[in-house]
């Protein structure tokens, strides 16, 4: 990146709340039903219908506010945001404008070992819109589109950050921490692929040393952490290039095109946005007293940073390990579960951060969908400790467990992977290896300690990795 410029990033994050029913009607919020089967007169915006607020939505918004160190408003109201789009049944979205439920929060992130606090401007409640399916997939080419209103009326909170982030890495760290917190407090699934966590980024650049913000652009369609980071990297460079060429940044909305790796302008010529917000007359205001807030506060679980501290202090995990494991509630829960049946925290964290994460990534799976249960990993680790299998074989077993969902013991048995710890069985193999490899044998006898390794390797090869390495070493030394 050009060293003359500083980047300024703020994020607007939408998170679907995991209530059972929609925000203003009692249709289910379940994801993935047949189109238009989770709809009713209210969420279809039929003439004459009225919204009735789901209390759980308010509870969850308060909970998110508390977890993000916000002030909870003692008085708030809903407003209408007016705009036309086929996926918006009433042609207005019920949202909150000037009196949001939470404001002035903060969130701590860590990038390259450096801690930083990101301000949270506000959190407000609103309803989601339906979904458009473009025939031929691309909006620009589609001759027509189809509308499914199953998602219309699913509750959302929008979390708006201060423009406190200075790099795509910080933006990503903020987003990751935010996701972790929302999952910890169990108010959202935060599945970016399903759209239950979505993010728009406001980004601008300014010459280092200037106080005023540069003109910003808003980037939409960021539906993964990677997309967020890549889009920001691209956009920052684009803006700097424009400025370096003596141009001006146009304030506009741009969309991230994942396949091309670029952001493209979404500007339409005549669309001046004017949402004409005004107080929603169909809903009465909310008064939130201390009692209500305290009741919610009592339901707050341990949050990522507290949990990280606990893992370091209680289990002696390195800061780094504790950070990775607590970055997701599911991962941290997995860790805690493992430790219920196994008392070597560092080994567990190695496996979680190593093999488990590798396989999840490779298969594009979330921890929640992991085919291996904590107790299965524990079983595997115990087999290793007992010497039934070697560390190397354990990885092979783990992969098989991951692929088939079978338990460790069964995989070991079915594949005949038990470690050979029978000295007599090994002795005959070792004798054969010595006979077939005169060169390293001679080298070793002449004092080259390293040559032993080659012989061990041959034994392991002959046993397809099942030989107990300690035993092989011992016998080899004896025989030589």
């Amino acid at each position: 990146m050009n060293q003359k410029y500083e980047t300024v990033i703020g994020l607007e994050v939408h998170s679907e709340l995991k209530t059972n029913s929609k925000i203003f009607c009692d249709c289910t919020t379940e994801f993935g039903g047949e189109p238009n089967t989770h709809t009713c007169p209210v969420c279809l915006g039929l003439p004459g219908v009225l919204p009735v607020l789901n209390k759980k939505v308010v509870d969850y918004a308060i909970k998110a506010g508390l977890a993000l160190n916000c002030e909870i408003a003692s008085f708030c109201k809903f407003d209408r945001k007016n705009y036309f789009y086929p996926d918006l049944p009433k042609a207005y979205q019920i949202s909150q404008y000037d009196l949001p439920i939470c404001k002035n929060g903060k969130l701590e992130i860590e990038v390259d070992g450096k801690k930083k606090t990101i301000g949270i401007t506000r959190i407000h409640m609103e309803e989601d819109a339906g979904k458009l399916i473009h025939q031929g997939d691309k909006i620009a080419e589609a001759e027509s589109s189809l509308v499914d209103y199953n998602r219309a009326g699913v509750p959302l909170i929008e979390i708006v950050s201060e423009p406190d982030m200075r790099s795509p890495e910080e933006a990503r760290a903020y987003m990751e921490m935010l996701k972790a917190i929302l999952q910890y407090i169990d108010v959202s699934d935060c599945k970016m692929q399903e759209g239950s966590l979505r993010c728009d980024a406001n980004v601008s650049v300014r010459p280092i040393g200037t106080k005023e913000f540069g003109t910003k652009t808003e980037i939409k369609n960021l539906n993964s952490f990677k997309a967020l980071q890549k889009a920001l990297e691209y956009e920052i460079e684009r803006q700097i290039e424009v400025l370096e060429d003596g141009g001006k940044i146009v304030q506009e909305t741009r969309s991230w095109d994942e396949s091309k790796g670029i952001t493209v302008s979404l500007r339409t010529k005549e669309e001046a946005h004017d949402y004409r917000y005004f107080p929603e007359p169909d809903l009465v205001p909310l008064k939130i007293d201390e009692e209500w807030i305290e009741k919610i506060r009592k339901t707050l679980p341990e949050l990522p940073n507290e949990r990280k501290k606990r893992l370091v202090e209680e289990f002696g995990l390195p800061e780094y390990d504790a950070g990775v494991i607590t970055s997701s509630k599911a991962l941290a829960d997995f860790f805690d579960k493992c430790l219920e049946g196994y008392d070597k925290p560092k080994i567990v964290s190695n496996w979680i951060m190593g093999e488990l994460s590798r396989l999840l990534n490779a298969n594009d799976l979330e921890v929640e969908d992991c085919p291996i249960e904590p107790q299965d990993l524990v079983e595997l680790l115990k087999l290793m400790d007992k010497g039934t299998i070697s560390g190397k074989i354990a990885k092979e077993v783990f992969e098989e467990m991951f692929a088939t969902g079978k338990k460790a013991g069964r995989v070991v048995k079915e594949k005949g992977l038990e470690q050979i710890s029978d000295a007599s069985e090994l002795e005959s193999i070792i004798e054969q290896v010595i006979a077939e490899n005169p060169k390293p044998v001679e080298d070793y006898r002449n004092g080259k300690e390293k040559a032993l390794g080659a012989l061990v390797g041959q034994v392991m090869k002959a046993t397809r990795g099942k030989a107990n390495p300690q035993l092989v070493n011992k016998i080899l030394k004896e025989k030589l």
């Binding site: 007169p41 279809l44 915006g45 039929l46 003439p47 004459g48 219908v49 009225l50 919204p51 009735v52 607020l53 209408r80 007016n82 036309f84 086929p86 049944p89 009433k90 042609a91 207005y92 589109s145 509308v147 004017d274 004409r276 917000y277 005004f278 007359p281 169909d282 809903l283 009465v284």
Partner: protein, 487 residues
């Protein structure tokens, strides 16, 4: 006397005593509609078949000796902005010309449970915007007292149907006078309840913070009966208030001796036609004769109510009517090449002139740069108007005024002058701004046309205004006159 001429309470007794069957009553009204409605044009949709089916159901239940609710077997009709399941609900708009709601409004459900027999759906100004019924996209309803004149609006069909005895009672909606003004023009009783007294669920919204559903009937007693059936809390309407519903018929009993009635002088301005003024003042004198303590008072912000209303109501309407975009229901321009064009054409063709005018005013008042000057300012003035009422009600039990500055005007007279049309809501709009209940009842005639008197009460004090209205009605000598246009 014909069956259709009886009051709701008389029919109720006759049905209970099995002097007559619901089928007989229903057929009498259906025949009446056949004969008269060609002239009056109150109905958009007639549901004769469903009506007779319901009447038979009620009759057979009654035959079996089942206990039936108060309105069982009595034929009524509804303004066409009240959603009726599987029966067209058009709002007199091209936009909803074919719309069949998959659900019924709460009031419709309540009446249905009460055994009501629905004869059909009534004409109105498109989306309840207008004061003459001339903004219906289908046809203009006529005033039964003079077929050359308007019935008032927007619930013109509801008022005319009751006046012409094409239904024993009807429901309408009132956002700025849309029940009271046509009641006044047609010489019937019309009540706008307190905001929050009757559920709005299923009433196609015009201006959500002002809209209320209310009854029309030929007598105050009938209006009380119908209000009883439709009032009460509804979990589907967050703004419907969860407080007990009193017995309104009970409340009619007794006299009004010692009751304090305020006469706000701002409701008798120079624009008020002198004949209307005379008739209403005679009416007030009558209340005094009945023992009420009548006093002139002042409501200083009255003159600001109408301009405030014509900011608040269109602003809310511009948002409420945004959903008519041709995507999910109703009219769609089929030739549009893209979605924006479809929105623009569908809406421009689907809405009539007055509706578009109000959408434009409302959009303007909410748009960036004007919100504070118009919408926010109007909400603040609304507070001042409410305070006028609060202080008046510290002294008075109710307030009495003319319902409208004039009697029914001629068709076509005001269609080209929107402001002149708006002025007929001058005295009715303040009650909506404050959310209080108000009733209009016949108080006399001017040149053979009915003049209405408006009685406004404290929030949730429908009992008080019903009682005053009832006392007046009992002691007036012009009841029972039949509308000349249809006799």
């Amino acid at each position: 006397m014909e069956l259709y001429e009886y009051s709701v309470s008389a029919l109720k007794k006759m049905l209970q005593n099995k002097k007559v069957s619901s089928r007989e009553v229903t057929e009498a009204f259906l025949d009446r509609i056949e004969i008269i409605d060609g002239k009056v044009q109150a109905y958009i949709t007639k549901t004769a078949e469903e009506a007779l089916k319901k009447a038979d159901e009620i009759d057979s239940k009654r035959q079996k000796g089942e206990e039936l609710p108060s309105l069982a077997g009595i034929p009524m009709a509804l303004k066409d902005n009240l959603c009726t399941k599987d029966i067209k609900t058009t709002c007199a708009s091209k936009n909803l010309y074919n719309f069949k709601p998959p659900y019924s409004a709460t009031v419709v459900e309540k009446l249905d449970k009460n055994g009501a027999v629905m004869l059909g759906k009534l004409n109105m100004d498109e989306f309840a915007m207008g004061s003459s019924c001339e903004n219906s996209r289908f046809f203009s309803t006529r005033n039964p007292w003079d077929l050359e004149r308007v019935p008032g609006g927007s619930s013109g069909g509801s008022a005319a149907a009751v006046a012409a005895r094409e239904a024993s009672y009807t429901l309408g909606s009132d956002t700025g006078g849309s029940i009271r003004q046509p009641a006044s023009f047609c010489g019937v009783v019309g009540l706008k309840p307190t905001y929050g007294r009757v559920s709005r669920y299923g009433l196609v919204a015009f201006a959500s913070s002002l809209d209320q559903i209310g009854p029309f009937a030929n007598t105050v007693e009938d209006v009380a009966l119908v209000l009883q059936a439709i009032a009460g809390h509804d979990p589907m309407d967050s703004t419907s208030v969860d407080i007990p519903v009193p017995d309104y018929s009970e409340a009619l009993q007794g006299d009004i001796k010692g009751m304090k009635i305020g006469i706000p002088r701002e409701y008798f301005p120079d624009e008020l036609s002198s004949d209307v003024k005379d008739v209403v003042q005679k009416g007030i004198k009558k209340l005094e004769d009945l023992g009420a303590i009548v006093e002139e008072c002042s409501m200083p912000h009255t003159e600001y109510a109408l301009p405030t209303y014509y900011i608040v109501a269109p602003a809310e309407a511009s948002s409420n009517l945004a959903r008519y975009d041709g995507v999910r229901y109703g009219y769609r321009d089929k030739d549009a090449k893209n979605v924006l064009e479809m929105f623009m054409k569908t809406r421009n063709e689907g809405f009539g002139e007055e509706v578009k005018r109000r959408i434009m005013i409302g959009t303007y008042a909410l748009s960036s740069g004007y919100y504070d000057a118009y919408y926010l300012k109007a909400l603040k003035v609304r507070t001042l108007i409410r305070r006028d009422f609060e202080s008046a009600f510290e002294k008075y039990d109710c307030l009495v005024s003319p319902t409208s500055p004039s009697v029914a005007f001629k068709l076509g007279d005001r269609v080209d002058d929107p402001l002149a049309m708006y002025l007929s809501d001058l005295f009715t709009v303040p009650a909506n701004m404050a959310g209080i209940p108000a009733i209009s009842l016949p108080c006399g005639f001017s040149e053979g046309l009915p003049v209405g008197m408006q009685i406004m009460g404290k929030a949730f004090a429908e009992e008080t205004i019903l009682k005053v209205a009832h006392a007046f009605e009992k002691n007036s000598d012009f009841q029972g006159q039949k509308p000349r246009g249809v006799e």
